[in-house]
């Protein structure tokens, strides 16, 4: 549905998007993830024909963004970073205006306005001036205008920015319910959002794609090694976390041990194995032989956060602040 090949966007001196390629299948929800200034908005602006690329090619629904922009524009709904609303218009009036711009008319227009105001929970402020709405409501109005013409492709730049937690969940559900018929690209900084909403994730950093995969694959596969979470307590009710850590570090095949939580009664550690080694049994044996209780042991999935930080070049901060120790 969307293909991007060798896309580059250069501003005066600065290369914002550097030779990126990816493709999105019909009906998928793709999360576009990257730190500030990574080039997410720039890429989206190219896909929506707002900015022309410096080099490379992008097509939406088979139409090239440079050669057939009208066809592309007819098929996309776009929520820019700041909702493109007119403060002096009422919500319903604005949605009608956008609907007309997108080519709707007559009874169908009124019907769609009602439908999207219900779906995006702005029906109760229909006759309020947009300038008097709160930021979250303005964001919802922005989302409503993006879907008013029921486009094949939805491009949402930080759709949940400024919403309250309840509304964030509702918006995520809304986005998920739109998948299938619609192909959706959304950008975000919020990692759980990607884990909850998206099937596919594209991580970009400094204008380059650093990973593109399904969320599951990313969570399990980046390091090629296992991370095991171990919870240990002492038989007599007290435990020395440092000793546990030392003990586990001596187990063959373990590459490193990180203390996650420690209290006088309890220690929670994460043990990383070397690539291809299975160390679970050895860890369990080591704990029990040392005379501690093994409360819990399971393979921890990498959090997307870790993967994200790792791929975008920042140091993962695995150490829990409470432990007060540097590894």
């Amino acid at each position: 549905m969307i293909t991007v090949e060798g896309l580059t966007k250069r501003y005066a001196r600065h290369v914002a998007v550097n030779n990126i390629s990816f493709s999105v299948e019909k009906g998928q929800i793709v999360g576009f993830l990257g730190p500030n200034g990574a080039g997410k908005t720039t890429t989206m602006r190219i896909l929506t024909c707002f900015l022309p690329p410096t080099a490379g090619k992008a097509t939406v629904a088979g139409f090239d963004v440079l050669e057939q922009p009208m066809e592309v524009k007819r098929r996309i709904g776009y929520l820019p970073e700041t909702p493109p609303v007119y403060p002096e218009m009422e919500v319903a009036e604005y949605l009608r205006f956008v609907g007309k711009l997108k080519g709707l008319s007559g009874a169908n227009l009124g019907h769609r306005v009602d439908e999207v105001s219900n779906r995006c929970a702005v029906a109760d402020v229909k006759h309020k001036l947009i300038g008097k709405l709160s930021k979250g409501y303005r964001q919802r109005v922005g989302l409503a205008q993006a879907i008013i013409h029921n486009p094949d492709v939805l491009i949402l730049d930080e759709p949940t920015a400024g919403l309250d937690p309840k509304q964030i969940n509702e918006t995520r559900d809304l986005i998920k319910s739109l998948a299938g018929d619609h192909t959706i690209i959304l950008s975000t900084h919020i990692l759980p959002e990607v884990e909850q909403t998206c099937e596919q994730v594209i991580i970009i950093s400094q204008g380059r794609v650093v990973a593109t995969d399904s969320v599951q694959n990313l969570q399990s596969g980046t390091r090629g090694a296992e991370t095991i979470r171990v919870e240990v307590s002492g038989r007599d009710g007290s435990i020395e976390a440092g000793a546990v850590r030392q003990k586990l570090e001596q187990v063959a095949g373990v590459s490193r041990v990180v203390l996650r939580e420690s209290s006088p009664q309890l220690a929670v550690l994460e043990v990383e194995s070397l690539k291809g080694k299975v160390v679970r049994g050895d860890i369990a044996r080591a704990v029990v032989q040392a005379g501690w209780n093994l409360n819990e042991l399971h393979t921890a999935a990498h959090t997307l956060e870790e993967i994200f930080l790792q791929l975008t070049g920042a140091q993962p901060t695995l150490e829990a602040p409470a432990s007060g120790e540097k590894q």
Partner: protein, 255 residues
């Protein structure tokens, strides 16, 4: 065409929900009312004097009242045009709504035409005030209506050209004040260019004074449609709108 109408309606609504339109209309109405009162009073005094001297036949209302008033309107318009056009694109750029327009299936030229026509419509509403005053002349005298109609045509053409220039300038900045001030400067310049013809007859002076929008209005004020002046205004409109569409395009490439 439909898209032009959608944009036109949106712009008209936004002029009339904000105080902008009412403020402009009121100010223009007051200023013109003052001019009108002056012109008519002057006409009456001159008329009485000439009758006391036993001078020639009846004086022409067209020549002594309508013609100077139309010229006044054409100059006063220069001051109002920046206020009409300054927000057209600058505001859309500042608030980011330009992203909505630019990513909707609507061509740049349709956006530009819709906005320009809305600006021209507001100017037309201002002219309605003058028509209200002129209607008194018809009530109490019998001026010729044809020169007046030609005068209005001239005013609309002149405003059309200047509004196109203002629209162009509005695409170049995201700051309304800058757009307004720059447009005002250009309008003023286009007015005073004509002064060089007062002391200089070289080619450059002829060219400069040709560019002055005011000189081209004189024939219309007299009630004559001079094709030379008509061509000037129509070209100014086309040039202004064409450059606006180029400017919108280049914004994207530079953005």
């Amino acid at each position: 065409m439909r898209n032009v109408a959608i944009i036109w309606k949106k712009e008209i609504d936004s002029y009339f929900v904000s105080p902008v339109a009412y403020l402009l209309l009121t100010m223009f109405g007051l200023i013109f009312g003052f001019f009108f009162w002056n012109a008519v009073s002057y006409f009456v005094i001159i008329g009485i004097e000439s009758q006391m001297r036993g001078g020639g036949g009846p004086m022409s209302v067209n020549e002594y009242v309508i013609r100077p008033l139309l010229s006044n309107v054409s100059v006063v318009g220069l001051f109002f045009i920046p206020m009409i056009t300054m927000r057209l694109f600058a505001e859309e750029k500042r608030t980011g709504t330009i992203e909505l327009l630019a990513t909707s299936p609507i061509r740049d030229i349709e956006v530009i035409l819709g906005k320009w026509l809305a600006a021209l419509t507001l100017y037309g509403c201002m002219l309605l005030f003058t028509a209200l005053n002129f209607s008194f002349l018809f009530r109490y005298g019998n001026p010729d209506w044809k020169p007046l109609a030609v005068g209005y045509l001239g005013l609309l053409l002149q405003a059309g050209g200047l509004l196109a220039v203002g629209t162009l300038i509005s695409t170049m900045t995201r700051n309304q004040i800058i757009a307004g001030a720059a447009t005002f400067g250009v309008c003023l310049l286009l007015w005073v260019l004509e002064w060089v013809s007062g002391y200089e007859t070289a080619t450059w002076a002829v060219v400069l004074s040709y560019c002055s929008v005011i000189t081209h209005f004189e024939s219309f004020a007299k009630g004559v449609i001079d094709s030379k002046d008509l061509v000037f205004y129509v070209s100014l409109i086309f040039l202004g709108l064409f450059l606006t569409s180029r400017s919108m395009e280049s914004l994207r490439w530079r953005a």
